[in-house]
């Protein structure tokens, strides 16, 4: 397997993009990434698109060639492949692109992620996102995605003494970071009182514990590491790319408050890269729900089991900490266009490692991690990115 580098990165702003269509956001992110990589279109071997639900959201299946078409690449007959893994679609697409380049089958690929959620009513978008859980044995009984995460939260509180206030620190930090990110869906700072006083969604989780429904797209260009310098002054090496899965329904997990898929993907990623959690300076983790972020910190090895709430509340993952978590604002503040999330996380980490993150730059970051999950953790994806020089 040869080494793979990210040589280009781009993304649209995330949010309610009323005036932009799916085609437009997909193209915008892709072109940014291609220009960033100084790659001409005819060098492109393949396009991977992370997309969760174009069929149910837009009534448009077969969406990958559509993006290639409107990007003006249909004449090159570039292969376009849609990848679906619920909320982890983008990260799994990145994994596919990585494998293709690492294996030598392809030299240059674009990995995009895009989702357009505002073309359907909120309750429809929520139903569709809820369908990433088990329809037959969860949803049919009235389970929603926030409801399932609330079950995890209640048990975490019961088993480890995690408090409602500790959970509230997650969105507060996310919004503080989002305020510094021009692409973020939410750029307003909030307080603990805002979170604690917000309306309930699925108690103990409230409105501010849940990431929003956003439109958006992101893209990266991957190529062989030994060619990377031709395209990018600071190529970022993908040090590990790991996908792991678990039971579809929460009810079948061995433990409710641990996502074994995350644990497995992270363990394998760190082993492959010969690194440890403590070596990571910047991490973009899945905070689709406040409790998901706390569980992820434990599963990824950044916090001891049961201690994430207290640590987070102490600012252990805020700017200035050894590992800064979600400088982009995360899914909560930067936004949650499902299929785009995993790729946008990669864009953020790549820019951080290049030192291009302006106000929210994590100084001297050299090793970055992204973590993206589908559903309630039936799929988990962990990537490690490294600045080589």
């Amino acid at each position: 397997m040869r080494e793979v580098a990210v040589i280009g990165a781009g993304m649209t702003r995330f949010g309610e993009l009323w005036d932009l269509s799916f085609r437009e956001i997909g193209i915008e992110a892709g072109f940014q990434a291609l220009v960033d990589a100084k790659l001409s279109s005819h060098q492109l071997n393949a396009f991977y698109l992370g997309n969760m639900a174009s069929g149910s959201l837009l009534e448009q299946e077969h969406i990958a060639p559509l993006v290639i078409d409107y990007a003006g690449l249909a004449g090159h007959h570039v292969g376009a492949i849609r990848v679906e893994a619920g909320g982890a679609s983008g990260a799994v697409a990145l994994h596919q692109g990585y494998l293709a380049v690492a294996s030598g089958a392809y030299d240059y690929v674009v990995v995009g992620g895009a989702e357009k959620l505002t073309d359907v009513p909120d309750f429809t978008a929520n139903r569709i996102s809820g369908s990433t859980a088990d329809q037959e044995w969860e949803s049919v009984f009235g389970a929603t995605l926030p409801g399932l995460w609330a079950l995890v939260a209640r048990r975490h509180m019961h088993d480890y003494g995690t408090t409602r206030e500790q959970l509230a620190h997650v969105p507060v930090q996310a919004h503080a970071m989002g305020a510094k990110n021009p692409n973020a869906h939410f750029r307003n700072k909030i307080t603990l009182e805002t979170v604690l006083g917000a309306g309930p969604v699925a108690e103990p989780l409230g409105v501010f514990d849940c990431a929003p429904l956003s439109d958006g797209a992101a893209a990266v260009v991957l190529g062989p590491m030994d060619e990377a310098k031709k395209h990018q002054e600071i190529p970022i090496r993908i040090a590990a790319s790991q996908v792991a899965c678990d039971t579809m329904a929460l009810q079948h997990r061995r433990e409710l408050t641990t996502l074994e898929a995350t644990v497995t993907a992270a363990r394998q990623a760190f082993a492959l890269a010969h690194r440890a959690p403590a070596d990571v300076q910047v991490a973009e983790i899945d905070d689709s729900y406040s409790i998901a972020a706390l569980v992820a910190l434990e599963d990824l090895g950044f916090a001891e089991k049961g201690k994430s709430g207290a640590l987070f509340a102490q600012g252990a993952f805020a700017p200035g900490a050894r590992t800064v978590v979600n400088p982009s604002g995360g899914l909560k503040a930067q936004g949650r266009p499902f299929g785009a999330v995993g790729v946008a996380q990669a864009v953020e980490v790549v820019r951080q490692l290049r030192g291009q993150s302006g106000e929210r730059q994590v100084p001297g970051a050299r090793l970055g991690l992204t973590h993206n999950i589908g559903g309630t953790g039936a799929t988990a994806v962990v990537h490690l990115f490294e600045r080589v020089n």
Binding site: F123, T124, N126, R127, G130, E136, W137, E138, S139, V140, F141, G142, A143, T144, P146, G147, A150, L151, V152, A153, R154, R155, H158, G199, P200, V201, A202, E203, P204, L205, T247, A249, L250, Q251, H252, L256
Partner: protein
């Protein structure tokens, strides 16, 4: 969400009566039933060796939440309690807890399965039925109903294996 009737209908034995399965190799119990045992799946020893197993419907709340932002089709029940129930036989089940105000639900609450409407396909469509859970603090877990002088007749299985309760 409109869906075909067949999709619901074929799950009726599970949703009405909590019919699960048990691996005859390692004795692990599953709900819903599985055709291969995840516990001994490495060498697929359990393939073709899973047997039907009836859950009693008795258990306790393992975790719960109160849903305010309802799933489509559940709006009239808001707020409703969604729970994971640890059954007496082992498997965890997802379902609503009914007949108890949300503030009185707690982890460890004893519940039993009750038969309720799950959802309706609009006003003109079919009605889907299945299990929910209601509080059951009263009956001791292993009580055998029936007559004191003659606990079991007609070869009726004990509750653990019985097919009545769901």
């Amino acid at each position: 969400m409109a869906t075909t009737i067949a999709r619901y209908w074929r799950e009726t034995p599970r949703r009405y009566n909590l019919g699960g399965s048990r691996c005859t190799v390692c004795r692990t119990i599953y709900f819903p039933p599985r055709s291969v045992c995840p516990s001994c799946s490495t060498h697929r020893q359990s393939l073709g060796k899973m047997e039907p197993f009836q859950l009693s419907g008795e258990g306790e709340v393992y975790s719960f939440c109160t849903v305010h932002d309802a799933a489509e089709g559940f709006e009239m029940e808001v707020p409703y309690v969604l729970a994971l129930v640890k059954t007496r036989e082992g498997p965890l089940l997802t379902g609503q807890v009914v007949d108890l105000p949300a503030e009185r639900v707690r982890i460890g609450l004893k519940v039993r399965a009750t038969f309720r409407k799950l959802r309706e396909e609009g006003k003109a469509g079919v009605i889907h039925y299945g299990y929910k859970f209601s509080p059951a603090e009263e009956p001791p877990p292993h009580r055998r109903p029936g007559r004191s002088s003659e606990p079991s007749r007609s070869g009726t299985p004990a509750p653990e294996e019985g097919r009545v309760r769901a």
